[in-house]
Symmetry: C2
Subunit: 304 residues, 2 copies
């Protein structure tokens, strides 16, 4: 046994992830209580999309990062729920026939399949509002300046200079052959920005000055990229059962991915290096960073 | 000449509306400067949808209401731009084939016609973020508590308990025959909530306590409803040239409207009474309310 092997934190990641996912589901269930009028179908579609599915990685990251600064977990879970609302909205819209045209998501029919396209568009739109409603609610955080900053940074991570812009780069890439720099940039916007925001949200709740946030941004950027490489590996070699969605899409669409550009072995090595780098950013922290460390390992191992 | 006739304020509404619409267009032009990468198509689609078209009624209302409290006009224009961003996102998504399937909007091809469906979905989504980005930006308003409240109330006016919920009521109403109470409720959510928010935003910028906002909410609720009745009258009797969109849709879809339920004459009378009531809510104000009074008259007269 090598002495250089990074010691695994003694943390039950599965149990923590289940507990936090359950807390997020409870908040969604409460916010999406059907009003008992013709909007019920929309509420049902939103519950179908958000509750009881998915890894809830972003809320988990928000909670894990909040531990670094001793932030009340309930606040971090509410912020995490807002981030998950944005993530869910993006999945619903990305799955639409005019976008990726997917029938399966999180092991269930996509919203436009289980309901209809109009309801799916609207469900995504209403998750979008719900996210900002949660963040700007004094229940989430009593300090108005933190609420306003949480909103500003989420709108930025989600919009033109973040996820939305990344989705456009992805649409524009059809039929093009992107190089490694272009793929990295695309993924940094499309999935990285929201993952980075999950970690940043804890820095905002902690009122950390901008210049003290560098290591946490570094951690988040590294695991965001590692996560995407792992996603490409699942798409390349995984099966739909494990992924909970259609796989092999990128290859059949002729899309460049980290795996098509680097090859499987180098892609795995790259992801593993990114995880090590992510963990190095946490060197100044003790066991309060163990959950973040465990998540870093998880992002590349979830396909095994 | 009747002495009871309400005196018209000596205000050039057209000139004011053009000036404010121009200011909103300038902010959009600045925020939607193409980045010079494959996202340019998305930016172009957003400029197509937002700039140089529409009455910009909601920004006009935000500015007019801000005059009651002596608020810096630049702030009200930025808040109005955020509201317009939400309005534009809702138009883009409502026009989609899965929703109302409209080809013409503001006298131009709809976004999914001029570009494509995926770009239209994404353009709507990015306007949605842009609205919250503008509101939470310290440039819009230096007080964090006002920024957070602006966001909270807009998310609420735009989401499940506002515009989004109203759109679902509208979708669910297909094939149903709604009565006057149901139509009023539907329209109050679908179009009223955002119009009310435009007026409320000035109360928020002025840090007006909630219990002092009643007359302004009354004004906004009355003109919101009058606006919708006028819209139904345009759809009933107007022509596409004037409306800048397809007309006669409701009748051909068998949808109940204020006109189908009340008849044309009573609908006109009702709208006119609502305008009078709206103006009565401003009785405690002098000429600083003249722009709001002029708008109240305008909403029922734009089809003539």
């Amino acid at each position: 046994m090598s002495t250089k092997m990074i010691e695994r934190p003694a943390i039950d990641l599965d149990a923590e992830a289940r507990r936090i996912a359950g807390a997020v589901d409870s908040i969604f269930a409460q916010l999406l209580e059907p009003p008992g009028d013709p909007r019920d179908r929309l509420f049902a579609a939103m519950r179908h999309a958000a509750i009881g599915g998915g890894k809830k990685l972003r809320p988990l990251l928000a909670v894990a990062a909040s531990r670094l600064f001793g932030i009340d977990e309930d606040r971090a879970i509410r912020v995490g729920t807002a981030i998950e609302a944005i993530h869910v909205y993006s999945l619903i819209h990305d799955d639409l026939p005019a976008m990726d045209n997917d029938d399966l998501r999180r092991g269930k029919p996509t919203v436009h399949k289980a309901y209809d396209e109009a309801t799916a568009i609207l469900a995504g739109d209403c998750f979008h509002d719900l996210a900002f409603e949660i963040l700007s609610d004094p229940v989430t955080c009593p300090e108005p300046s933190a609420r306003a900053e949480l909103v500003l940074e989420l709108a930025s991570a989600s919009g033109l200079s973040g996820m939305g812009g990344g989705q456009m780069l992805d649409l524009a890439a059809e039929g093009e052959t992107l190089d490694l720099a272009a793929i990295t940039r695309l993924q940094q916007l499309k999935t990285g920005a929201l993952i980075e925001y999950a970690v940043e949200s804890a820095c905002i709740l902690a009122r950390l000055p901008a210049d003290s946030r560098t290591p946490y941004r570094g951690y988040a950027r590294n695991i965001g990229l590692a996560f995407q490489i792992a996603d490409d590996l699942i798409d390349h070699s995984g099966d739909a059962q494990t992924a909970g969605k259609k796989v092999g899409k990128d290859a059949s669409a002729g899309k460049a991915t980290f795996v098509s550009l680097l090859g499987e072995e180098r892609a795995r090595l790259q992801a593993s290096m990114l995880v090590d780098q992510a963990i190095e950013h946490l060197a100044s922290h003790g066991e309060e960073a163990d959950l973040l460390r465990a998540i870093a390992h998880f992002v590349t191992e979830r396909d095994r």
